[in-house]
Amino acid sequence: MERMFAKPFVASLEGHVDAVETMARKPETLDIVASGSWDGGLIVHDVSRRSRLLHIEDAHKGKVSGVCFGQQDRLLSCGVDRNIKLWDSHKGFEESGEEDDTGAGPSKRKPLSIFPGKAAFNSIDHHRYDPLFATASNLVQVWDETKSAAISNLTLPTSTETVTAVKFNLAEASVLASIGSDRTFTLYDIRTGKAERRIIMQMRSNALSWSPTFPTTVLLASEDHNLYTFDIRQLNTPSQIYKGHVAAVMSCDWSPTGLEFVSGGWDRTVRIWKEGVGTQPEVYHTKRMQRVMSTLYTGDARFVLSGSDDGNVRIWKAHASDKLGIVTARERAAIEYRQSLKARWKADAEVNKIARTRHLPKPVYKAAQLKRTMLDAQRVKEERRRKHSRAGENKPKAERKKVVIAEQS
């Protein structure tokens, strides 16, 4: 019943002309979200009011490749124009307060400072406590907000790749991770100032996210349609594989609880996963939603944002059949009762089937079917090959072992 009446889609935030490339939530807030797009525009949304707090139309030439909040309402953005710009978003808030009705029209704002770089930047992330931030271009650099040049370069000396994303760990704030075009995942520590370990995988990753509750866990959104969680203490195998997307996964973000995460894919779906459950994610899709380039959880873990190729930022419920608004104690008790009943009877085939089935758009469904067929065929082939080779010559390899090709230090 719930499933039938679930309405996960809440609203759409407009304002970008081109694909929304990146989104970032202001730490310690629930709903202040900045988004950067391919057109070089930068918008700070107030999600709960569905209004714009700040709108900079040409923050960068070319696309804005990375956005993050700094300390004290500062906003950092980097772009492919080889610049990092530091904005004061607080002023924007004030202004928006004034012209709230008009919805904060684009302002000709000048950045507080510009940090020029030598190559196009792909990603930026701010240290949790210190006024430091890291950027990814062909190097991984650490910058100080007060200094115009990078204070250190953490790149592995042998690497020649383009680093596509970089993220600070949330609990162990000085631990840093990056992913690169060389199918690599690299771990850094700004205390030792070194790249510490690198793994090379089968396919490249498109996004990464650190778990907020499990400091050792990092999530990678891979090009091979899967998501992987790694324990950084043991990088040779992923701790879990999440299979479900039917195209490359373009983005991922952990829920603040660390027990769920959201991913957006090239298959035009947003999926919500439970930590440790590798299949059957919740699937969100809309007719008009294009490739999902960025996804984000809100601070209260109730909503999910997705930025897609069509330039919209969409708000979804994290749990499709959640009731919005005030829920009375009685109602909540009833809901909880129902949920625990479902949990109790989930072993039952019928109940489970209902809980499991998702309505998918036809292309996704077909793609999934096709993928399944292909994988089956592959498996069969391998089995036959094994059958016709000498016994014990090629043993089946666990799926998990296949992911990482090499671990380097």
């Binding site: 807030t29 009011r49 000396p157 162990e172 203490r233 209260d300 008790a333």
Partner: protein, 1149 residues
């Protein structure tokens, strides 16, 4: 010795000198695997224009590679000798030379010519050149060697020390060499033939030097034993054009560069030491003999080294010589005094100097001839170019004077050797030694500090270490993560801010009046000094004004108040108690009444007609019997007497009253009983209010008092009872009542004093009324005796009594039962006509005995009863059954506990039985006798008095039994008991009637039949076919035959398994809801089932339980951004993960 190749051209060539031969022999001996050869060659001495013979040592194994050159002055007839050595050695040699060159940089330049010659040689093959130089130097500088040595050693020391530390010296040397090279190039052009030149030069030099060498030359033994290794030669061949530098290059090329470079200096120093031993003869053995005091220690050490490796020894020897030569050359011009001085400085040993001198002279006997003029000429040049000169001496010396280094080279140079010279001088030698210890410890091979790793490797290691560090750091979160993972419920934020309770004080302290009202109040308080902080003060102030009496009065007042309050409280408590008591009473009564009504109703429902009839009869009887009317006999008599005294009248009135009451009771409408009415009213009023109830409680108390007051009245009644005319009428009733009382006491355990009271009253007033009331049946409440009948079926009175008697005997059932049976049998046997089929029909054959015995007993018992009325029989039957049942159960239990029952115990058990039974019998018989008599009367009575009859019958029967028991029990009791309680009997009794196997087989057969495939003909006769007379019966139509595809008996899972029934039924509808696999967290089916059995909803759970059961796993506090973890870096200190709470926007969200 093969000198075949040593050619002698035109007499110019000289034969190899004997020392050479000796040397070669030695070499051969030492290197048996190598083929040495000495080749003589004529060379032109450019300076002199004469010819010189050059001897070359050739190795046959490596043709063209090994060329050892020994040059000798023609006239002297001495050849140079070279020995093969390892490549390393060669390099070392070259290096040594360079070093010496450097050291000689400042030495006077009289060797200039020599330098040039050397350069020539260098051009061809640097190694050779060097060697030759050495040789030359050895030859030339022999005389003045000692002095030079002194300097050389010192200077060398100077050089070597830094070398040990840093390697830059190499470069310097190279530079020098280059300079020299250039010069030498220039010089080389002049020369025709290198070697020759070298020799000539050396000769010149020698010649120029003092006369001392001459003496030595006589000896003719001075030999050069220069070793050059193959590679060097190869190098030389390659780099003809190259000068000394080339040697450097070659060194650089080679792998062992470093080693050599480091090794060399030591060798130099070794040489220094060797200096002393230079005078030794060429062969090693000889050298070993020659010993200097100063060097003795080093010698020893060196020798050990020698023992290790001969090759190296050789090298070092050679170098040592070269060094010596260097020093000699450098100090060519210098005086011996200088040398001696230097030596003194060093070692303070003159004898060494002398030896040296001797040695030198001995070496270069033939060189005196060499023209000194040339040398002089060159000297000028040399003086100009200090560097060249520096070079020269070294080179010349290298070849050097020593007569054969092969012998003199003591072995590998040690660090100790290097440090030895310092011993006397430096105070910080010790520290140096210490620091050098590391190096010296690895004495065998030349050990060095390993070079720093290449950058990339080093960085890799760094990274690995850093990763480990990070891992460690991150691992501190392990415990926290584990806790989160295992938690059943997570409530975010995980680290909530501790809630602080705001106290009044806190609020008051914070409070500031903002509104008008508040400020006004505040002002008032302030003026009255009643604010929170001032109030204590004001009160104390007020107290100050009071006098002692006033205070005392106040206190007294307070105390009084307290006292009053306490009293009020106590009162309230009491009232409450009464209230509750009353209430309870009321409740109880109400319940009782309800029960009574119910009983009546049921009774009415059950037997409407009968009951009504009965009631009518009763009424009639009452009317007939009771004294409620003055129509009775007694009343009439009383009336007849006319006058009545007061007592009599009151009695009559009472009687009438009672009659009235009873009548009403019978009608079931009202109760005239005092208690009853009271209760009723209580009940009615109880609903009205608490106040009334209170009053009622008191009323009730009063009423109770009144009741007690009535008791004496009852006693008055007893006085009436004592009257004669009452006695006869009441006698029977009283007896009955007594019985009833007994029964009742037995049944109820002697409670209900009210009942007692009533009983006490009733019999005296009206005996027969009890019987009447009993007949009413439903009115159990009013007659305790009736309770029995209420519980038991009608006509069970007899059994009751019997049971009572049985109980009273207090026998264990088996002990009680069997004797009765046995004893009962003889008297009853004649009467026994109708044996009831025994319940245990099918008994195991091996148990036949016991069952037979049991049967007999039963039949007899039965007979005893059967003669009486049907009802009685029934009751009897029941009783018997019950008893038997109990018996069986008991036995079973016993069997369970211990199958073996020893006979002795049985006997002891059975022993007390009869005696007790007897006692009981006597008691019952006494009471039963009158009953039996009455029973006899009762037979004549109407049939409705069944109960009475049966009762009496039962009594009589029991009596009979008891009598029998009394008769037989004494005689046979024991034997019978033993017989009865045999094991088999017990078992038989326990399993009587269960033929389990057959039952099971039957059940299985039925099961199989049910499941078997069936064909059911559903044809309805007359439908679809002709009916009537003569019609043929149509065959069953296939579509009307319903086939049930069951399970074929042979296909069953339990086919041929006699001991099991496996059901083939499978509920398809239910199957849909069965779980295929055990769900995850459960480990067993039972566990899962149990968890599923427990209901979840509020209907089956307490509120709390429900809440707990339905609590979701993750609870997030809305308006909290739960994310992210603490700033606390030490997870050990964090109990959860802290979260910053931020109020949510009040929004539509």
């Amino acid at each position: 010795m093969n000198f075949a190749r040593s050619t002698f051209h035109g007499g110019l060539l000289q034969t190899p000198p004997p020392w050479l031969r000796d040397a070669v022999r030695d070499m051969r001996a030492r290197y048996p695997n190598d083929a040495f050869d000495v080749v003589g060659r004529l060379a032109l001495n450019p300076s002199t224009g004469g010819h010189v013979t050059i001897f070359r040592l050739v190795c046959g194994d490596c043709p063209g590679k090994l060329l050892l050159v020994m040059a000798k002055g023609r006239s002297s007839g001495k050849g140079a000798k070279s020995a093969q050595s390892s490549r390393k050695a060669g390099n070392a040699l070259g290096y040594a030379k360079r070093q010496s060159l450097k050291s000689k940089a400042l030495s006077p330049g009289d060797v200039g010519d020599v330098y040039e010659y050397q350069q020539e040689k260098v051009r061809r093959a640097k190694v050779k050149l060097q060697l030759e130089k050495d040789e030359l130097a050895g030859v030339g500088g022999a005389e003045s060697g000692s002095e030079e040595e002194g300097e050389g050693t010192t200077s060398r020391r100077r050089d070597t020390r830094p070398r040990l530390v840093g390697e830059n010296d190499d470069d310097d040397k190279i530079d020098e060499d280059e300079d020299e090279e250039i010069d030498s190039d220039g010089a080389f052009d002049e020369s025709d033939e290198e070697r020759f030149a070298g020799f000539s030069f050396s000769h010149k030099k020698k010649a120029k030097s003092k006369a001392k060498p001459k003496k030595k030359s006589d000896s003719g033994r001075s030999v050069r034993f220069a070793e050059v290794d193959l590679d060097e030669d190869g190098d030389g061949a390659k780099s003809d054009a190259q000068a000394d530098e080339a040697s450097e290059d070659s060194e650089a090329d080679e792998d062992e560069d470093e080693e050599e470079e480091e090794g060399d200096p030591s060798e130099f120093i070794d040489v220094l030491d060797v200096l002393d031993g230079r005078g030794e003869p060429e062969s090693e053995d000889e050298r070993g003999k020659a010993q200097r005091e100063d060097v003795q220690k080093e010698r020893a050490s060196r020798k050990t080294a020698e023992a290790d490796e001969e090759d190296e020894e050789m090298d070092s020897d050679e170098e040592a010589h070269s060094e010596e030569e260097d020093s000699e050359e450098g100090g060519d011009d210098e005086d011996e005094e200088m040398i001696s001085a230097s030596e003194v400085e060093e070692e303070g040993d003159d004898s060494a100097l002398l030896d040296l001198e001797n040695f030198v002279t001995g070496l270069d006997a033939g060189q005196k001839r060499k023209a000194p003029d040339d040398e002089d000429g060159k000297e000028g040049e040399e003086a100009k170019r200090a560097r060249k000169r520096r070079l020269l001496p070294e080179r010349t010396e290298a070849g050097a004077e020593n007569e054969f280094i092969a012998s003199s080279g003591a072995g590998k140079l040690n660090l100790d050797d290097l440090l030895a010279p310092l011993e006397g001088q430096s105070s910080n030698l010790q520290s140096l030694k210490k620091s050098a210890k590391v190096l010296s410890s690895s004495s065998g091979k030349v050990k060095t500090l390993s070079a720093p790793l290449p950058q990339r490797a080093a960085e890799k290691l760094d990274r690995e270490a850093a990763y480990e560090q990070t891992k460690e750091e991150v691992d501190k979160w392990k415990a926290t993560m584990q806790r989160i993972k295992e938690a059943e419920h997570l409530s975010f934020p995980l680290q909530a801010e501790p809630k602080s309770r705001t106290s009044n004080l806190e609020l008051a302290a914070k409070f500031k009046p903002t509104t008008e009202l508040e400020s006004a109040v505040d002002k008032l308080l302030k003026s009255a000094k009643m604010r929170e902080n001032e109030i204590a003060q004001t009160e104390s102030l007020k107290m100050n004004h009071l006098s002692v009496e006033e205070v005392a009065a106040r206190r007294a007042e307070l105390a009084k108040m307290r006292d009053l309050m306490f009293r009020a409280e106590a009162k309230a408590k009491r009232i409450a108690k009464i209230k509750s008591k009353t209430y309870r009473r009321l409740k109880k009564k109400e319940r009782a009444r309800l029960a009574a009504k119910l009983g009546e109703d049921s009774e009415e429902d059950l037997d409407d007609e009968e009951a009504r009839l009965k009631r009518e009869v009763e009424r009639a009887r009452e009317r007939a019997t009771l004294r409620h009317k003055n129509t009775g006999k007694w009343a009439k008599a009383m009336r007849g007497r006319g006058e009545l005294d007061e007592d009599q009248r009151r009695d009559i009135n009472e009687m009438l009253d009672r009659g009235e009451k009873l009548r009403r009771k019978i009608r079931g409408e009202g109760e005239s009983d005092d208690d009853e009415s009271d209760d009723e009213s209580d009940d009615a009023e109880g609903e009205e209010g608490i106040a009334r109830i209170k009053a009622k409680a008191f009323d009730e108390l009063a009423a109770l008092d009144a009741d007690q007051a009535e008791v004496p009245e009852g006693k008055k009644g007893k006085s009436i009872f004592e009257m004669k005319f009452m006695k006869d009428a009441m006698a029977r009733e009283q007896r009955k009542a007594h019985e009833m009382v007994d029964d009742f006491i037995k049944e109820m355990g002697g409670h209900d004093p009210d009942g007692d009271e009533e009983q006490g009253e009733r019999p005296d007033v009206d005996g027969p009324s009890g019987a009447i009331v009993q007949r009413v049946g439903g009115r159990v409440v009013y007659r305790p005796g009736a309770l029995n009948t209420g519980i038991r079926p009608v006509g069970s009175l007899a059994s009751d009594t019997s049971s009572v008697t049985l109980k009273s005997t207090d026998l264990p059932p088996e002990a009680r039962d069997t004797p009765i049976e046995q004893s009962a049998s003889p008297p009853s046997s004649p009467i026994a006509q109708r044996p009831v089929p025994p319940p245990a029909e099918e008994v195991n054959p091996w148990l036949a005995q016991a069952s037979a015995a049991a049967k007999a007993g039963q039949t007899k018992h039965e007979v005893a009863i059967s003669k009486e009325s049907g009802a009685a029989e029934k009751s009897k039957n029941k009783l018997r059954k019950r008893v038997q049942k109990r018996l069986e159960e008991k036995e079973k239990a016993q069997e369970d506990a211990a199958v073996d029952i020893s006979l002795s115990t049985v006997m002891t058990l059975s022993e007390p039985g009869p005696s007790k039974a007897k006692a009981a019998q006597t008691s019952t018989s006494s009471s039963a006798k009158p009953a039996s008599t009455s029973a006899a009367k009762g037979k004549a009575r109407a049939s409705q008095e069944d109960g009475d009859d049966s009762d009496s019958d039962a009594n009589s029967e029991v009596e009979e039994q008891e009598k029998a028991l009394a008769q037989k029990g004494k005689g046979k009791g024991k034997a019978n008991g033993v017989k009865a309680f045999e094991q088999r009997d017990l078992v038989a009794l326990a399993f009587a009637g269960d033929n389990v196997v057959q039952d099971f087989a039957e059940a299985k057969r039925r099961e199989i039949q049910e499941d078997a495939p069936k064909e059911i003909d559903t044809t309805l006769p007359g439908w679809g076919s002709w009916g009537g007379k003569g019609a043929k019966k149509a065959p069953p139509k296939p579509h009307l035959v319903k086939k049930v595809a069951g399970v074929d008996p042979t296909a069953r899972a339990d086919y041929k398994k006699a001991h099991v029934i496996i059901s083939e039924k499978r509920d398809k509808k239910a199957a849909k809801y069965l779980v295929k696999d055990l769900p995850y967290p459960y480990t067993s089916k039972a566990q899962f089932e149990r968890s599923m059995e427990v209901p979840l909803g509020t209907e089956w759970n307490t509120r709390l339980g429900f809440q707990r059961a339905t609590l979701p796993k993750v609870v997030t506090k809305i308006a909290c951004s739960c994310p992210q973890q603490s700033q606390l870096r030490t997870p050990a200190s964090t109990l959860g993960l802290p979260v910053a709470c931020v109020p949510q926007h009040p929004s539509t969200y």
